[in-house]
């Protein structure tokens, strides 16, 4: 990842699932957006903190890791639909056998990765199956 400010400026979203909601049309956005995709300039966005519960839309077990994630492979990556509506990409931790399309999940605070032995450690949100 290697850019501290790039990660730091989104800490609220990465740690606490802070997104936005359009007052005009009511749609929720996570990751946060500053322009509503429906209302565009007519929209008015306000901060919104998501509950952190949702379900798995699709998932994969990644064997060939992304750069910086080599130590975690194999890991489960999923698209999760939050109960408020928006979808996001996140890792799902826990037993891969418990993970299926439609599995209910909740957010947890976890280490995401690190820049080598002496670099920054990144924390953020992952998900776990609700009944795990």
């Amino acid at each position: 990842m290697s850019s501290v400010p790039r990660f730091w400026r989104n800490l609220g979203s990465r740690y606490n699932l802070e997104g936005t909601r359009c007052k005009e049309c009511g749609e929720y956005f996570y990751p946060p957006r500053n322009v509503c995709v429906n209302c565009r300039r007519m929209g008015e966005l306000e901060p919104f903190k998501f509950k952190g519960t949702g379900e798995i839309v699709s998932y994969t077990l990644i064997h060939t890791a992304a750069e910086g994630f080599e130590g975690q492979a194999p890991y489960t990556l999923a698209i999760i639909k939050l109960d408020e509506g928006p979808q996001l990409t996140s890792q799902v931790v826990g037993n891969p056998d418990k993970i299926q399309i439609g599995t209910r999940v909740k957010s947890v605070f976890r280490k995401l990765g690190e820049d080598g032995d002496r670099g920054m450690i990144y924390y953020g949100t992952k998900f776990v199956p609700v009944d795990a």
Binding site: V57, L61, H63, A66, E67, L77, A78, L88, I101, G124
Partner: protein
């Protein structure tokens, strides 16, 4: 708007070209296309080049100027050169810019090229550069890879429609067979379904043989106004449609991840512009960066009902000699995927087919061909339709 024709084409060999640089391969493709068109450097009004990531792959930006220079078009002729970037759709977009330049009347003879030199860095760095086509902050930082994103498309497609790993493998098997007939293809080896299923898992359910490779290669086309195309060649191939559409950069923000809405919309615009329907198309080069991508593409372009792409492939309907031959070049899977070159290479293949010059992989009597080039996981789609008749 003026009608536009393609009057010259050239691909370099695709593969791991250790002894050749980015500028070497683009110049070979460009000069080859210019010779094929029998035009002179003095005739060229503009150059467009698709290149995704010279900055990451060879630490070189300003690719347009570099290529014009080393093609001998700069110091004396000062031909304007523009690099076009849309990740893996850079080539298709370069062609579209070139078409619009000729159609508008701003230019007459225009070169549309595409190139990527990917093997000067290791495969980890190449994968990281490619991951920049997705949303770095909200996909990449979660640990997403491109195989991972397409694996999630595949997983849901299988869950919802019953598509199988064997059907995905059939895409790779067909494309390797087609590649075996293409002299420029990176892989000319024929493979079996079993070979695919036994290859290592990259991101479940995608095996390494479900994935397109890392490739060096360049391709080029020469365009001219249709009314003067016969001055240069007996077999000009005409552009019937150029269309492009956008969708969300992140896969998770799509309406439905098993359909690339950008492909659907670009195809709709292209069919409308050409006044044609899917059943009129004789062959198509689709963006099979992964086997599931070809399945989705043939559905989204209207060649198979949604959810039936796997069955249609396994039935042989997309093979050469089938109902709608798909990826006669070998596709990205077997011909190779030098990302910036791919969209141009697809057009070179369709022009070669429509000219009747495709040898053992020739689709008999082909009148209309289509290309489909995708950026990222579907945030950009470009569709072109070509015809033998004006």
């Amino acid at each position: 708007m003026r009608d536009v024709a393609i009057i010259g084409v050239k691909n370099t060999k695709f593969g791991e070209l250790w002894e050749r640089s980015l500028r070497d391969i683009v110049v070979e493709a460009g000069i080859g296309a210019i010779e094929d068109a029998a035009v002179s450097g003095k005739d060229i009004d503009a150059l467009y080049i698709g290149n995704m990531s010279g900055g990451r792959f060879v630490e070189q930006e300003h690719i347009g100027a570099l290529i014009a220079d080393y093609s001998g078009l700069s110091r004396n002729l000062h031909v304007p050169a523009t690099r076009v970037e849309a990740a893996c759709a850079s080539g298709g977009l370069a062609l579209r810019q070139a078409i619009m330049s000729v159609a508008s009347g701003y230019s007459d003879i225009v070169v549309a090229a595409g190139a990527e030199k990917m093997t000067d860095v290791g495969s980890e760095e190449a994968s990281s550069a490619l991951a920049a086509a997705a949303d770095r902050e909200w996909e990449g930082m979660a640990g997403a890879t491109f195989p991972g994103l397409y694996a999630m498309i595949a997983k849901l497609h299988m869950h919802r429609y019953g598509t199988t790993s064997e059907q995905l493998a059939e895409v790779a098997v067909k494309n390797h067979k087609n590649g075996s007939f293409n002299p420029i293809a990176q892989y000319k080896n024929v493979i079996t379904v079993d070979d695919v299923l036994k290859s290592i898992m990259v991101a479940d359910p995608l095996h390494i043989f479900d994935c397109s490779p890392i490739t060096d290669g360049a391709s080029a086309l020469v365009l001219a106004p249709a009314e003067i195309a016969h001055k240069y060649t007996d077999t000009p191939i005409y552009i019937k449609a150029t269309a492009q559409a956008s969708d969300t950069i992140a896969l998770h923000d799509r309406r439905d991840i098993t359909t690339l809405d950008a492909t659907v919309m670009a195809a709709k615009r292209a069919y409308s512009m050409a006044k044609l329907a899917p059943q009129d198309i004789d062959l198509v080069e689709v963006h099979d960066c992964f086997t599931i991508a070809e399945i989705c593409a043939i559905e989204d372009l209207g060649f198979a009902e949604k959810g039936k792409g796997g069955i249609v492939t396994a039935n042989g309907e997309t093979a050469i000699g089938g109902r709608i031959p798909v990826n006669t070049s070998g596709g990205l899977k077997a011909c190779g995927h030098p990302v910036g070159a791919t969209g141009i290479k697809q057009a070179v293949e369709v022009v070669t087919q429509l000219r009747g010059d495709a040898g053992k992989r020739q689709v008999a009597g082909a009148e209309y061909g289509m290309t489909h080039n995708v950026g990222g996981s579907g945030a950009t789609a470009v569709v072109h339709i070509f015809s033998r008749e004006r």
